[in-house]
Amino acid sequence: MSKDIDLKELEKKAWRSTLEDGIFEIYFGILHLNITIGVILDEILPSPYNLIVMFSIIGLGLMFFLFGKKFISEPRLGKVKFGRTRIVRKVKTIAVLTVNFLALLIIFLIGVLNPQLRLQLPKSLFDLIMGLLFFTLPLCFIAYFLQFRRLYIIAILLGLGFSLDELFKLLPIPDLVSSILAFGMISVIILSMGVVVFIRFLKKYPRPKDNQELEVKDG
């Protein structure tokens, strides 16, 4: 044989190629940017207008994700259906996320029903623990089961958001600015990461001519 073929690695490589477009990161970046924009909108727009704008941004993000996959990623990368391995991994992800959600719900309910059981911690530390539990942990499970390495970075960044906000409030700046800085910084990092991956993807996979495949078949 000319080279060794590790079938598991081959499947993983094929799977990871579908995540090479950066669209998921950009989508997450837009969603997180929405938190930053929400902080600003709370100050300048009355309810429900601020909510309308925020939901519109979420809608735009979702549209970018769906249309981006369909009209940018798919024509360049091609379409693929994976086998049983991926289905099993998706089922495992859903199962673990369900258990994780139920565990967090129980912790939350215990905290609400018995406030004396709540840990007496500084606000920034409490926010850090909550961020790690509610954002980092579930996203790390997804990253692990979906074998999506960049999602670990996103998971950590999202988990840090609220505690970073508290830390910035220690600075001699208005609370609004500290929140914009904390959430904005994270949004920009995630968005930049996505845009870099996206540009790299566009360079690596140029769009084939519409009739290229037809020409080959026709000889």
């Binding site: 044989m1 080279k3 091609g78 693929v80 259906k81």
Partner: protein
């Protein structure tokens, strides 16, 4: 041929048959990729194997003729969408190929 030579030949264990159609490196790449996924279009397969359109098309034709892959073409407007998947026969052939090549390599002395 002498008796000695005949005896020597009979002592050599027969090597497992290697499917030459799959053994060709480019076709091996294609069939291995199709083995680990359920189905893909032509573009995905081209990107994963790094072959040219013509090369991939020609190898796929050979695999299709052997009954190892199923190629379905769909024309929508000016575009042709080609979906490729491994047939059961192809799956079995690739599994046998892997077993045989491993056996083959084991029997070759260092």
């Amino acid at each position: 041929m002498g008796k000695k030579e005949e005896k020597t030949n009979s002592e050599i264990p027969s090597l497992p048959p290697i499917d030459k159609l799959i053994h060709e490196p480019a076709r091996l790449d294609i069939i291995a990729m199709l083995y680990v996924i359920k189905e893909s279009d032509f573009i995905f397969l081209k990107n994963q194997t790094g072959m040219t359109w013509g090369n991939l098309s020609s190898h796929l034709s050979k695999l299709e003729d052997a009954g190892y892959v199923n190629v379905e073409k769909e024309i929508s407007g000016k575009k042709t969408k080609t979906r490729v998947s491994l047939t059961n026969e192809g799956r079995i052939a690739f599994r046998e190929y892997r077993q045989n090549i491993n056996e083959f390599l084991k029997r070759i002395p260092e």
